[in-house]
């Protein structure tokens, strides 16, 4: 099984000018380590709110593509947000969930996503496209396709539970993350 770190690196290698909101914990740290850019918003606290933030950006900037890099624990914490995405139906939102079935940043305690099909819930909530991947070959082409197609799109990527070593903490102070992202968002 692919590591989350590799899956995040692969996903970000397809990114060009999209605005990217990244969930807290190892997901932000890995995105920062592999592909730091001004248009990445690293959410270091407020677990569960990556998708609401992304949905807010997508509503405010309907002509920009917005990508949310999320985790299973984050999605489970605020599952009602999936319903809001289904109802608002933003064509420019791509929601990618790296599902390792554990809380990876706090010691690997189990989440419940081994028994809950988050992809089916997203489909029932009204996402326009839903894809579930359990192997790596299709990851890049699927991401590339979702960045072009009308959404909202939901990609669930099953990843391994381990954390790889050598992943730095996000070094920017939070208000600098805000400034950088707003600058990137205002550059059309």
């Amino acid at each position: 099984m692919i590591t989350r770190s590799e899956a995040i690196a692969c996903t970000l290698s397809e990114i060009t000018d999209e605005l990217v909101v990244v969930a807290n914990g190892m997901i932000s740290r890995e995105a920062f380590t592999h592909h730091d850019r001004e248009a990445n918003f690293y959410m270091i606290g407020s677990m569960g709110l990556a998708c609401p933030i992304g949905l807010g950006v997508a509503t405010a900037q309907p002509h920009r593509r917005v990508v949310v890099l999320d985790g299973d624990g984050n999605v489970l914490m605020n599952m009602g947000t999936l319903a809001m995405v289904g109802e608002l139906h933003p064509a420019n939102l791509v929601h990618i969930v790296f599902d390792n079935e554990v809380y990876g940043s706090t010691g690997g305690q189990r989440s419940i996503s081994d028994h809950v099909r988050l992809d089916k819930i997203a489909g029932a909530a009204g996402y326009a496209q839903v894809v579930r991947l359990e192997s790596t070959e299709a990851l890049r082409p699927t991401v590339a396709d979702m960045l072009k197609q009308d959404g909202p799109s939901f990609l669930l990527v099953k990843v391994g539970p381990e954390n790889v070593s050598g992943i730095a903490r996000v070094s920017y102070p939070p208000e600098i993350i805000t400034e950088r992202f707003m600058r990137a968002a205002s550059n059309q």
Binding site: G45, S46, P52, G56, A83
Partner: protein, 163 residues
Amino acid sequence: MVTSDEFYKFLKAKGINFFTGVPDSTFKEVFRLLEQDVATTYIPAVSEDVAIGLAVGGRLGGQFPMVLMQNSGLGVSINALASLATLYKVPILLMIGWRGYQGKDAPEHLIMGESMLNLLQDIGVPYEVLEAESVYDDTERAIAQMETHSIPVALIIRKGILA
């Protein structure tokens, strides 16, 4: 006395163009106006912390957001305010209905009614308790404070303040 309709027009004239939140009966007329106003973004949220997340996203995307909620929702929002909106210096305006004011309300509102202002102070969110005779001035002051410090600021509204 300022009507809900006049107050809503005032908020829009101040540049607020991205509304979200969870309803409260204290200003239910404002929600009716939001639902009718197809020209303005209003996103009904499933919970108040989600509304804070949406508003932060709206601000990052260049809009001027407002989050409406009952003070029960402040309890749900504490972490979103502390570890997102305040920490990241994202200015958003909150409009919070003060249920449980002076202990006169249903039992589920009494503890939050008593604690609300202290909670806001403890997490560093300034507030203005709106008075009927100075609704516009109170709101102007809140917006100025929000912009000067680039943080969330709350308007506290009691029953009967808006006609």
